[in-house]
């Protein structure tokens, strides 16, 4: 496990060096997609009534600690990415974490523990992190080990290709071809199901996958739609084809069996969605690359496992 995290850290560092070396042409675009934003959204976010913080509960423990420990990413554009100039972690998942911290503690004090798909369940069950905000798709298998509040967002996988590629419009077209996917993303089982004859190559991070697509390591790249839209906007040599072919409901990972905390987080979600805070967080992050108004948030508890 330690080595995997070390691997991730070294890969991140080396990719930063690599992308710095390769991105000489697009010096105008900032390293982090999404406009720099003030924290006014979080300032408007609600704070829980003292009566809601039940004595002896997880919420009380977090409040006394004065900091919410979130399992998350530092390298997911638009969702949870560390801004190299300010050191701030920005994006939809990151802001949701800050809003939850404010709701419990009164201030958006968050400590992000860099989690990975293979460590999330363990980090929650041994209490290293309080919650996980990390495009954590709710599945019945995972729900046996962790509790899910939400879903708080619903996304879908789609396909990106190099501009000018023909013959790929839907997932079935990927049969017999080499397809790039992010390691540990739901894209791998989805491709296996819809295009069983496809060969899947995986890379650790989104920039690596884009680089691999441009270097013809595969003919297509399957990833979450929002990420691909952001990639295609940054890089004119790739394009997104078709519309999303899966629905991935993202949940907030909590310790298994902590029903009190789950209800508390679900109540918070209902509250911020009703007050429009959720919609503003979306507009400040994912909404900077997706056209139109904020989507309707998914119904809480509507997914098996939530």
């Amino acid at each position: 496990m330690v080595s995997i995290r070390r691997v991730a850290a070294v890969a991140a560092v080396s990719m930063v060096g690599l992308s710095a070396a390769c991105s000489g042409t697009d010096s105008t675009s900032s390293a982090v997609p999404g406009q720099p934003k003030d924290n006014s959204v979080i300032a408007q976010a609600p704070v829980a009534a003292a009566a809601d913080i039940l004595p002896g509960s997880t919420m009380e423990k977090i409040k006394q600690r004065g900091e919410l420990i979130v399992g998350g990413s530092l390298d997911a554009p638009l969702l949870s990415q560390q801004n190299p100039t300010t050191g701030e972690i920005e994006g939809f998942d990151a802001d949701m974490g800050k809003a939850l911290a404010k709701y419990i503690i009164g201030q958006p004090k968050v400590k992000i523990v860099n989690a990975a798909s293979e460590t999330r369940e363990a980090l929650l069950s041994n209490g290293t992190v309080d919650v996980v905000f990390q495009t954590y798709t709710i599945t019945p298998e995972r729900a046996e080990q962790v509790a899910f509040a939400g879903p708080y967002y619903s996304s879908g996988l789609t396909i990106a290709v190099k501009k000018g590629t023909t013959g790929i419009a839907k997932p079935e077209d990927l049969n017999g071809k080499t397809v790039i996917a992010g390691a540990n993303t739901p894209a791998i089982p989805a491709i296996k199901q819809l295009a069983p004859q496809a060969t899947i190559v995986t890379f650790g991070s989104d920039p690596e996958c884009v680089q691999a697509l441009k270097q013809d390591r595969g003919v297509a790249y399957v990833q979450d739609e929002t990420l691909l839209v952001a990639d295609a906007q940054k890089d004119p040599s790739i394009q997104v084809v078709g519309s999303p072919f899966t629905t991935d409901p993202y949940g907030i990972g909590l310790k298994h069996g902590d029903d009190q905390f789950k209800k508390f987080v679900n109540d918070w979600l209902t509250k911020i969605q009703g007050q429009g805070v959720w919609q503003q967080i979306w507009k400040g992050s994912l909404g900077t690359v997706v056209q139109g108004e904020a989507p309707t948030p998914p119904q809480i508890g509507s997914v098996p496992g939530s």
């Binding site: 890969a11 080396s14 690599l18 293979e118 790039i180 390691a183 791998i188 899947i200 390591r217």
Partner: protein, 214 residues
């Protein structure tokens, strides 16, 4: 446990790729190590310099950095090979530096009188290295080379980071479906341990059989 047993074909496929990576890169590393060690003990200053530079460069860079640079950087200058081929070559070059150092320590362990005697018999540098020094040097470094082999086996897991679906990547993919990291990674760990134990057993046998009686 069923998380492990239901996915045995995936694990098996991953294990095969791990063994291919291990075998091919160890063969490459052995050749590379021999050449570099010969350069480092040669009487030609230029060759010694090249050998030293090679060892210092490769030992002082993390393998993962080398892998990422080779996989994503080399295509930028027009050098592109398959992912597994690239990973094999990079691991071979990297571990070659370690094997070279182990061999050099073996050569240094052979007393200088042996080399002098070889020259006195009229053997040139290559001949004295091949017939007198290396056979004795190799026997003293069987154990360190066995350790490098084990380290190399573990290092093949870094190829997972550059898209090669070996044992670690296969375990990751199974875990993605099953969300049972403990049995899955313990299972993968046991497979690595078995490879390492076999290597340890073989080097132990070799060392006893080939020991130089002094």
């Amino acid at each position: 446990m069923s998380a492990l047993l239901d996915h045995l074909p995936e694990f098996w496929q991953g294990l095969i790729v791990t063994l291919q990576l291990t075998a091919a890169s160890f063969a490459g590393a052995a050749v590379m190590g021999l050449v570099i060690a010969a350069m480092r003990v040669s009487p030609v200053p230029v060759l010694r310099g090249i050998g030293t530079a090679y060892v210092e460069t490769l030992q002082n860079l993390p393998l993962l950095v080398l892998l990422v640079l080779a996989v994503f950087g080399l295509p930028e200058i027009g050098l592109q090979a398959g992912l597994q081929v690239t990973a094999t070559v990079v691991i071979a070059l990297y571990e070659g530096a370690y094997i070279a150092e182990a061999l050099r320590s073996g050569v240094n362990a052979v007393s200088s009188g042996q080399g002098e005697a070889a020259r006195a018999l009229g053997l040139n540098f290559t001949q004295s290295l091949r017939h007198v020094v290396l056979p004795q040097a190799l026997r003293t470094v069987i154990q360190p080379i066995g350790n490098i082999f084990i380290a190399l086996t573990m290092n093949t897991s870094l190829a997972a980071a550059v898209g090669v679906v070996e044992l670690t990547a296969a375990a990751n993919r199974v875990n993605l479906l099953e969300a049972q990291p403990i049995p899955i990674f313990v299972g993968a760990g046991v497979a690595y341990a078995v490879i390492a134990a076999c290597a340890g057993f073989v080097t132990g046998r070799l060392e006893r059989r080939l020991a130089v009686v002094r």
